[in-house]
Amino acid sequence: MLRLEARAEPSRWMVWLSPLLALAITVAFGVGIFLAMGKSPLLGLSMFFWEPIKSPYNLSELALKATPLILIGLGLAACYRSNVWNIGAEGQYILGAIFGGGVALLAGDHTPHAIVLPVLLAGVLGGMVWAALVAALRDWFNANEILVSLMLVYVAQYLLDYLVYGPWKDPEGYNFPQTRMFADPTLLGHLIDGTRLNWGFPIALVAVALVWVFLFRSVAGFRLQVGGLAPGAARYAGYSSRKALWTVLLMSGGFAGLAGALDAIGPLQQLTPQVSQGYGFAAIIVAFVGRLNPVGIVLSGALMAMFYIGGELAQSRLGLPNAMTGVFQGLLLFALLACDTLIHHRIRLKR
């Protein structure tokens, strides 16, 4: 019989092997789905793991998709490291798109290109405001941040719906629920001709470095991680849990808001009810699969972007439902958490 046995100390190998193992389980499940739907598994898997990286253009699309996932994932990693369960990044992202998009709508064709900066800052502010609500209710009313942050996702979505169906609706948009296209000066230019890649991706990489330094080389980052791992020790050391709460929530809200604004004036160029494709939720998986480590998050962000692109390709080329992306995402996290058991335990054969 197989038995789980506690390891004397956590395995450093398994910390990074576990995501690969989880990916293998997910892929095996995917093969099963492709077979069940009567498609070639090889062809199906190539949509997810080969097509997105096979050409420079496809890689640029991958980076474009990965940008919001990495940015949001970074903020969430800081949250989860300090044991603050912000699961409403989706709402914070939407608020970022609303705030950023709102500023972008003010601009005309002759506004200086520098308007991009206020747009992005507004996005950061929007995300922060939404996350600050969570922090305030947790801090002042002891309200569970999981439920509050999640409820605010629905409120954010309805707020966006209200704006694009109501006051912000494009008067010349044939009554479609959408704003007018943002004026040219507000749009992020393309970094490389012939691709849609914009400044968002370099910004995300800078953010990765900043968060890495903050988490692993700053006192504030150390304090909040102590608070997450050992609240008692943190209290004894005099580290403020309230400060940690506000710091990580404002930080993750800001990153999610930035991601929303970047997408609004990047690939989207206008606001519609479908601004987000569930990036805020996918980024939760990105954070965990990336081991709550900024560098790992770049890799897991790219992986999750592959799932998104692969899902779209499988739909357009193989006629498979796009919803497969969500199945794979959820399964990956579920498998990862199971595999993580092997960090602290090993499997022994016992008779």
């Binding site: 789980l4 506690a6 369960w85 699961i87 209710l137 009313f141 002891n142 309200a143 569970n144 999981i146 439920l147 509050v148 999640l150 409820m151 605010l152 629905y154 409120v155 309805y158 707020l159 719906d161 209200y162 169906y165 109501g166 939720f281 939760i284 998986i285 965990f288 439902p321 919803a323 497969m324 992306t325 969500g326 199945v327 794979f328 995402q329 959820g330 399964l331 996290l333 579920f334 990862l336 958490l337 199971a338 993580d340 058991t341």
Partner: protein, 306 residues
């Protein structure tokens, strides 16, 4: 029908899935496991229940299928959080994301399909009463069963030995273990039973309440049901009350619209979610009050002898 009577009737009907799910989650939490997978479980049960109802034409088969799906997913959750000791928040969340994805995947062919009408059960005699008849006595059988379930749970927790053991496992797994109770098996059983109820709630939603299958149709009801257990300070009667309150809030938006008040529908649709936040904040304001009522071992894994 009288406007007030109809408001009461729709409130009871809208509150029933919330109450069912929340009572299920209450059983989970009493045993010390918090189930953030409720939303995904409801969605999965909703799509499977809908499919079964469509193919068999039998609503009870649909409820049974919903319960089975909920129980199965709860067992998967239990395997991870109880035996492997994974983080309950992250694992439940994974289940919700997985359930949302898989239900959308499975449900593609069922979007836009219509079910045979499953008529409500008019209680003979009582349903003919003026006002009270249409308000209280012309509902689907599940509405009454839910009330009975809440009463049964009060009796179970307060008056039976099994209920006492369950509460002991949730309050202090160490003590329950020392007394010789199989803590992990009891938790799994509680998780599976609660999951089945969450599943029935999902099936009720797609088979009776809507009755349609739409991707993501639970619209956060699983999460609101989670908030309700806190709101109710973990007591079945208050769960029921809270569920009807929220059912009423959900219905209020349609009455506003019907009465011609000029408020954009999107802002009215926010009401249940904002109400959840407000109520949660008010109820949680006193940390001591929460700590006294909350099962003490919620969210903490238990390893015998560990």
């Amino acid at each position: 029908m009288d406007m007030t009577a109809s408001l009461i009737a729709t409130t009871l009907s809208a509150g029933t899935p919330l109450a069912l799910a929340s009572l299920g989650l209450l059983i989970n939490e009493k045993s010390g496991v918090v189930n953030l997978g409720a939303e995904g479980m409801m969605l999965m049960a909703a799509v499977v229940g809908f499919a079964v109802a469509l193919h068999t034409g039998n609503q009870w088969a649909a409820f049974g299928a919903g319960a089975a799906v909920g129980a199965l997913l709860a067992a998967a959750l239990g395997l991870l959080v109880i035996w492997l000791g994974t983080n309950q928040y992250a694992t439940g969340l994974a289940l919700t994301l997985f359930g949302a994805g898989l239900s959308a995947f499975l449900g593609i062919d069922y979007v836009g399909k219509t079910l045979p009408n499953f008529p409500p059960w008019d209680i003979p005699g009582l349903s003919q009463l003026p006002f009270f008849g249409p308000a209280l006595f012309r509902h689907h059988l599940m509405v009454y069963l839910t009330i009975l379930l809440a009463l049964g749970m009060i009796w179970f927790f307060d008056r039976t030995r099994a209920g006492l053991v369950l509460r002991a496992v949730g309050e202090s797994p160490e003590v329950a273990h020392a007394l010789g109770y199989p803590v992990r098996r009891i938790r799994l059983l509680a998780l599976v039973c609660g999951g089945a109820l969450v599943g029935v709630a999902g099936a009720y939603l797609s088979v009776i309440y809507t009755p349609l299958w739409v991707q993501g149709m639970t619209a956060g009801r699983g999460w609101i049901a989670l908030a309700l257990t806190t709101f109710a300070t973990w007591r079945p009667a208050r769960v029921l009350l809270g569920a009807y309150l929220f059912g009423g809030v959900t219905m209020l938006q349609f009455f506003f619209q019907g009465s011609g008040v000029q408020v954009p529908s999107q802002l009215l649709s926010m009401l249940p979610y904002i109400a959840t936040i407000v109520v949660l904040a008010l109820m949680s304001r006193n940390p001591l009050w929460i700590r006294v009522n909350m099962p003490a071992s919620i969210g903490k894994p238990f390893t015998p002898g560990g």
